[in-house]
């Protein structure tokens, strides 16, 4: 058994260099350090061999959700408004003693309003080869998502798992020249977990993701007499401008990742979870279907490490601690020559702590603190723009969990975050009109101080022989001391209703 353990360990080390992932937090204002109040191992690990740690019950979950955001403090290519609708069915089922199956099926609709120029869906992945036209307006994407996870405990101390995700959608820009798009994502995960001792579980997983995006500019009947200007970006400045009505852009995105997890649970009062996640993603842009021509190559290497612990000191007192470190490094290559167009690096690290205390049978309170820092560096050689910034984040969280009755539970949470730039440097010269007029403010965006407030409510009710959950989450973000985003704010509401029922 010892030998098997070493074999796995060696394999783990060997595969580190082949593995990949995603998570390029280009839009760093999206990052948050919300202190944990619990450790959700399956959700964190995304390893189907850890499906036995999933907290969901053997129920059918029917969920409908809606989110809306209105953002004035944004980068130029961020849409001003986003509406997202989702109807989701999920369920979990144990098959015998050793097997678990969990599946998700979902319809979703994404609407981006006042979206400038770009029609690449994952426009903020760090890939500089963006594509679009000179129009601004609404675009919508209607998609179907499917996810299945299978777990099998092959021996008393080891399990395997496999996961498959599939997503397709179709996009349409509603303003002329009305380009359309199609997306197809497939992700396959294979995991293995092993418990050398009763209180330790080691898990590894490999993941392959394949995405394809196709964008079509065709002759739009309403624009027969209208001149169409297409933008092909290779950096933050100097887009290639083409006046033509038809064009096809294909983006191939591949992601290869590897993860390793350690779960240490010596007793019911202590849990430790640690995870490394390393990966590489690559984006290859091409044009024209019949005779594809290269439009650029972008590669991003990333590494994520996190540790989390949960300690029940008494029956009333619980603490959660977590640490996260994330780094990524991306670079873009010229489509025709062996030269570097740009490099970008980011680094994120943070620590959070939370105390939960059960005041009485009905009331539970928690209080948490978090601290993090973010570094972002962009060397856009093509555009002659260099940018480096470092910022810090302090977060404060407090929440209540209140049982009105045995069948009604209310959870509330308030999070306040302060993002403060610590230092920044920038350099640009001989810049073009597109950078100076539109995209220069994107650099300012990264070094603008802002506060974020998040207030959430969640009500759980035992009703109709099942459980109904109503949840609302409100975000408010306000930049401070900004001459560009003066008196503006971002607001975001996420809400969902979920019905959980035992039907099998």
């Amino acid at each position: 058994m010892k030998r098997t353990f070493y074999t796995i360990f060696i394999l783990l080390i060997i595969h580190l260099k082949f593995s990949v992932g995603q998570n390029f937090i280009y839009n760093f204002n999206g990052f948050s350090f919300q202190p944990d109040t619990s450790i959700k191992i399956f959700m964190l690990g995304q390893n189907p061999a850890l499906l036995n740690y999933d907290e969901d019950h053997e129920l059918l979950y029917i969920k409908t959700s809606y989110s809306f955001s209105d953002e004035k403090f944004k980068r130029y290519f961020d849409p001003e408004r986003i509406n997202y609708y989702q109807v989701r069915f999920s369920g979990k089922k144990k098959i015998g003693d050793n097997q678990i199956f969990k599946g998700v099926f979902e319809f979703n609709k994404l609407v981006r309003k006042n979206w400038n120029w770009i029609f690449i869906k994952d426009y903020n992945s760090g890939n500089p080869f963006l594509f679009g036209d000179s129009s601004s307006g609404s675009s919508s994407f209607n998609g179907i998502y499917f996810n299945a996870n299978y777990f099998n405990q092959i021996f008393h101390n080891s399990s395997i798992g496999a996961g498959l995700e599939y997503f397709v959608d179709e996009g349409l820009k509603q303003v002329s020249p009305k380009p359309t798009s199609q997306h197809r994502n497939i992700k396959f995960t294979l995991g293995f977990s092993y418990s050398p001792l009763k209180f330790i579980n080691l898990a590894i997983a490999g993941m392959i993701e394949d995405k394809k995006e196709e964008i079509f500019y065709k002759e739009d009947e309403s624009a027969v007499y209208k001149e169409i200007t297409l933008f092909k970006f290779r950096g933050i400045d100097f887009p290639i401008i083409v006046k033509k009505k038809t064009e096809t852009r294909i983006l191939f995105y591949n992601n290869y990742a590897f993860s390793g997890d350690i779960i240490f649970k010596p007793s019911d009062s202590f849990l430790f979870f640690s995870r490394i996640y390393k990966g590489i993603d690559q984006s290859i842009s091409k044009e024209e279907i019949t005779n594809p021509t290269n439009q650029g190559y972008f590669q991003n290497d990333y590494f994520n490490f996190e540790m989390k612990s949960e300690t029940f000191w008494t029956g009333r007192l619980k603490t959660n601690l977590s640490f996260k470190y994330f780094t990524s490094s991306g670079w873009a290559k010229h489509p025709s020559f062996n030269s570097l167009l740009s490099e970008q690096k980011q680094n994120l690290s943070g620590i959070t702590g939370n105390i939960s205390y059960r005041l009485n049978e009905k009331l539970n309170a928690n209080f948490g603190l978090g601290f993090g820092q973010f570094k972002f560096n962009l060397n856009d050689y093509y555009s002659n723009v260099l940018f480096d910034t470092k910022s810090q984040l302090i977060s404060l969280q407090t929440g209540l969990k209140f049982y009105f009755t045995n069948s009604i539970l209310l959870e509330t949470n308030l999070l306040i975050e302060k993002h403060s730039p610590v230092s920044s440097e920038e350099f640009y010269e001989n810049s073009g009109i597109y950078f100076m007029s539109f995209l220069k403010n994107d650099l300012e965006y990264f070094k603008t101080e802002f506060n974020r407030y998040n207030l959430s409510f969640l009500i759980t009710m035992q009703l109709f022989s099942g459980e109904i959950i109503l949840a609302t989450d409100y975000n408010y973000l306000k930049p401070i001391n900004s001459s560009i985003w003066n008196n503006v704010q971002n607001q975001n509401i996420n809400t969902f209703i979920e019905y959980r029922v035992k039907v099998y």
Binding site: L11, S19, I160, I208, K243, N338
Partner: protein, 400 residues
């Protein structure tokens, strides 16, 4: 048994992970970064003039214009005594090169013993180069002697059709201009539309000798019937009528100098405008050029010398006076159909029914208008918002 199953499991898992690497085609991170390379271009005289004058084949004091294909950035440079221009801080791209070294009469006297005017060195062979950050070698461009230039050039092509009038496209025309300070006779000059078919996979851009055409027309006259005076334009219209009657945003071509009239088809004929002579046009009811892309050449040659190649006529390059190509996407020079020796680039980028036209850039040479003719329409032409038949947009007062 248990151990065996476990080992098989591990093996399968390992294979699945290893197979990732075989599926993956990761590229190596380039070492050279954009805008960091110092590019060197050396111009070499092949005529022996520079060797005679300076003991070296380096072309010194040549004016060099570089124009990037994708970003349209232009850089004016001058060669040093080693015939080299250096440029840095620019992006990798295909660059159009126009290099010119005017030989002054004193230099020509030293070379030939006579004060000769109008001799210059031009880069006739290499007009398109790649400047790439990953290569540091000096690029060498040969230069040859050119005596004078073409007396007549294609000065404008209007092909896309007017805005706001449906699919109206009958107002197409091409225009020629007399560059010289003396009369030029148009009689017998050939106008040919360059043939290529992406559908049939036929593209003769690399033909070393001939322009291929399925549409060959000729100016009328017996030698001295149709003079074109210095600085004068002549439009050859598909239909020489006032198109504003049919399409309000179009143009009046009723008074132009020539009209293409296809007598074997229901074509419009303005009796007041002399007709071009159709030598061969295999299809269509009128003289036809592409609305968004195409190429036209003018040539001076005996019609009898035209050769057949299947259903195409061949025009030897040596007879070509001028040629212009326009592309749907002028950045995609790989789609060219006209040989680089005639036109090293491509103008255009005009969409159907926008009323835009392509016109040669005007230069002021010794007080008269000379149109830019570096045999590279990427650099010689501009897109203008409206057609300008028989006048230049820079000088609308000269309009008739």
């Amino acid at each position: 048994m248990k151990r065996l199953v476990l080992k098989i499991g591990i093996l399968l898992f390992s294979i699945s992970l290893f197979s990732c690497s075989s599926l993956v085609d990761f590229e190596d991170k380039p070492i050279s970064a954009e805008r960091k390379q110092v590019f060197k271009i050396r111009f070499i005289d092949q005529s022996g003039y520079m060797q005679t004058l300076y003991g070296s084949d380096a072309v010194r004091d040549a004016q060099v214009l570089l124009k990037s294909n994708l970003l349209n950035e232009e850089f004016n440079l001058r060669t040093d005594t080693n015939g080299v221009v250096e440029i840095s801080g620019i992006v990798s791209d295909k660059y159009m090169v126009s290099a010119s070294r005017q030989m002054n009469p004193d230099e020509m006297e030293l070379i030939t013993g006579y004060k000769i005017y109008n001799h210059k060195l031009l880069n006739t062979k290499v007009k398109l180069i790649e400047l790439r950050a990953d290569l540091s070698e000096t690029i060498e461009i040969p230069m040859d002697v050119v005596i004078g230039g073409s007396p007549i050039v294609i000065s404008e092509i209007y092909a896309c059709g007017p805005p706001g009038s449906g699919l109206y496209w009958h107002d197409k025309y091409m225009e020629v201009y007399n560059q010289t300070d003396s009369i030029v006779y148009l009689d017998g000059i050939i106008v040919a539309v360059v043939y290529a078919s992406s559908y049939l996979g036929q593209n003769y851009v690399d033909d070393p000798e001939f322009v291929h055409s399925k549409s060959v027309w000729m100016f009328p006259g017996n030698g001295t019937d149709y003079p074109l005076y210095p600085g004068e334009f002549a439009v050859c219209a598909a239909d020489a009528i006032d198109h504003r009657v049919n399409a309000p945003n179009s143009v009046d071509l009723s008074n132009v100098k020539f009209e293409f009239y296809k007598d074997d088809a229901p074509d419009i004929d303005n009796p007041l405008v002399p007709n071009m002579i159709k030598i061969y046009q295999s299809a269509g009811n009128d003289w036809l050029i592409g609305g968004e892309q195409g190429a036209i050449v003018i040539a001076k040659m005996p019609v009898d010398s035209l050769q057949w190649f299947g259903d195409q006529l061949l025009i030897p390059y040596r007879y070509v006076l001028d040629g212009v190509e326009y592309l749907k996407d002028p950045m995609k020079l790989e789609n060219k159909i006209l040989n680089h020796s005639i036109d090293g680039g491509g103008t255009g980028g005009i969409q159907f029914y926008t009323g835009k036209s392509m016109e040669r850039i005007a230069l002021n040479v010794e007080g008269r208008m000379v149109l830019k003719d570096d045999n590279n329409s990427s650099m010689d032409f501009v897109v203008i918002p409206r057609p300008t038949p028989e006048f230049h947009h820079s000088n609308p007062k000269k309009r008739k």
